[in-house]
């Protein structure tokens, strides 16, 4: 129990002194996850929008598969990506294993199903509202997609945050494909795993607290952006 109290003290101390090692790890964590989320959103929003607008045989199957992929254990995904990027694997020549790029790739594969599924969910509601209106204008499917994505922008912002949360907290996949290499691929979560295995529990907890603080900061920033715009648009 006193570990937890200790942890807070250590956390604030590290933050106050702007500990160099800590800053390096935090920065890499944020880079990796933010980039992964940005790319996942671009891909995922279009998948979600396309699924909400187009009707074709096999659509239901795709939706079921995407929903199921949300439950893919990260460590399994990490293993798959490792096998792909390993020197003995099909993409080995790219030499991406044990680099931040590999971690970004793993996180993109992990979050895109989540973002797609949630985006589809959000857009379905908008689609119901706007369906007759769009059809009365004879909009092309592409025009519908563009309009829906813009109309749903606040909901989609939340979807993006959900994706970010999943990415920043992930440890299994990034450990395998990143290797937790000091000064290269060590991020918050893998550092926490390392400190735990070294028995320095208070420090591990402190890192966890700091991770949560930064995550809150990101969420808060996005929500501030959202509500300032929202006031202008909605009743």
């Amino acid at each position: 129990m006193e570990e937890i109290g200790n942890a807070f003290l250590i956390a604030f101390d590290l933050l106050r002194s702007r500990d160099a090692a800590l800053m390096e790890i935090v920065q890499l964590s944020l880079w990796v996850s933010i980039i992964a989320v940005a790319i996942s959103c671009i891909i995922g929003f279009f998948i979600g929008a396309a699924l909400s607008v187009y009707r074709f045989p096999g659509r239901k199957v795709i939706v079921v598969v995407i929903n199921a992929l949300m439950g893919l254990p990260p460590v399994v995904l990490g293993l798959i990506v490792y096998l792909l990027l390993s020197r003995s694997g099909p993409l080995g020549v790219l030499g991406l294993l044990y680099t931040p790029t590999a971690m970004i790739i793993a996180q993109i594969l992990l979050i895109t199903p989540l973002v797609s599924a949630l985006c589809l969910q959000v857009l379905e509601e908008f689609n119901r509202e706007y369906d007759e209106f769009f059809r009365s204008l004879r909009l092309t499917s592409l025009a519908k997609i563009k309009t829906l994505l813009w109309e749903a922008r606040f909901g989609l912002l939340t979807v993006g945050l959900a994706g970010f949360g999943r990415a920043i907290s992930e440890v299994g996949a990034v450990m395998i494909v990143g290797g937790n290499i000091n000064h290269a691929t060590r991020i918050m979560t893998t550092a926490i795993a390392l400190e735990t295995s070294k028995g320095t529990l208070a420090l591990a907890l402190a890192l966890g607290i700091i991770l949560i603080i930064f995550s809150i900061a990101v969420n808060a920033a996005v929500m501030a952006l959202r509500s300032s715009s929202k006031v202008q648009v909605h009743a």
Partner: protein, 279 residues
């Protein structure tokens, strides 16, 4: 108005992506790096943090250590995901060389294993030196024992010892024998949490910060000798291996500077690794 906001966001995103790409490109263009596949116990002891900067200062080569279980390190080596292997499972290493995955095996250093257990010592090991006798006592008292259970160097040694003590652990091991399937640190955490016995290498134990109510209850038996070896991953099998730099590292490690660096690494005044490259 909202479009402006949207475009601003999109612009920021693109800048972020662009910056990352530049960063990565810069990273790729950096001075030579080698990847060493090693074990979590070696990593956790803090040895690498001590000796590697010396190596880099001398040669300008950066060493990236991927610390995983021995089994995984060997597998990664087989796949060519690295340049050098530094583990402590001699017979597995020799197999590795024999099957052509590695070039040549060199002794680097040794330390020893110890039996850790709860202070109140239910199995009454009381500092028993003979490891085989100690293990027999544990089995007899059915005291909780945490095994690595992960095909690591430590795990292989543990299983060898059960064999030598003529104890069929698969049979005799009841609910008191737990396999953590994890690294040394995680295993020690479990032992601390369950007040159980376990076998650990001395270096990891000394560096471990969650000792809780545990202490060393058996040590010193020559059977507990723990040898570390280093190998270059075979460039003929994996042409991309940094053969030159990898060999420089191996030469350094087994040569005068590396060996004295290893000997100089102390934790709480105690030396954790003993160089024995014999070159």
């Amino acid at each position: 108005m909202k479009m402006i906001l949207f475009y601003r966001l999109a612009l920021t995103m693109s800048l972020v992506v662009f910056a990352n790409v530049v960063m990565l490109a810069a990273a790729l263009a950096q001075p030579v790096t080698i990847i060493v596949q090693s074990t979590t116990s070696t990593q956790n002891s803090g040895l690498f943090d001590f000796i590697l900067p010396k190596f880099t200062a001398q040669t300008g080569i950066t060493v990236n250590v991927v610390a995983v279980g021995t089994g995984q390190a060997l597998k990664n080596g087989r796949n060519g995901d690295g340049d050098v292997l530094l583990v402590h499972a001699k017979s597995a290493e020799e197999q590795f060389i024999k099957r052509g995955f590695g070039v040549k095996r060199f002794d680097v250093m040794y330390n020893d294993f110890v039996i850790i257990g709860p202070k109140n010592d239910p199995a009454k090991l009381g500092g028993t030196v003979g490891i085989l006798a100690a293990l027999a006592k544990i089995v007899q008292s059915k005291s909780p024992f945490i095994s690595r259970g992960d095909d690591s160097g430590t795990n292989k040694k543990e299983l060898q010892l059960w064999q030598k003590a003529k104890i069929n652990i698969v049979e005799k091991g009841g609910s008191w024998y737990r396999e953590s399937g994890s690294g040394m640190g995680a295993t020690l955490n479990i032992a601390a949490g369950m007040s159980a016995y376990t076998m650990s290498d001395r270096a990891t134990w000394l560096a471990f910060k969650n000792k809780a109510g545990l202490k060393i209850l058996s040590e010193g038996d020559p059977l507990l000798f723990n040898q570390y070896g280093v190998m270059l991953i075979n460039p003929s099998k994996h042409p991309h291996v940094n053969e030159k730099e990898g060999q420089i590292f191996i030469d350094w490690l087994t040569g005068k500077e590396g060996q004295s660096a290893i000997a100089a690494y102390k934790l709480e005044g105690k030396q954790l690794f003993f160089p024995n490259a014999g070159r």
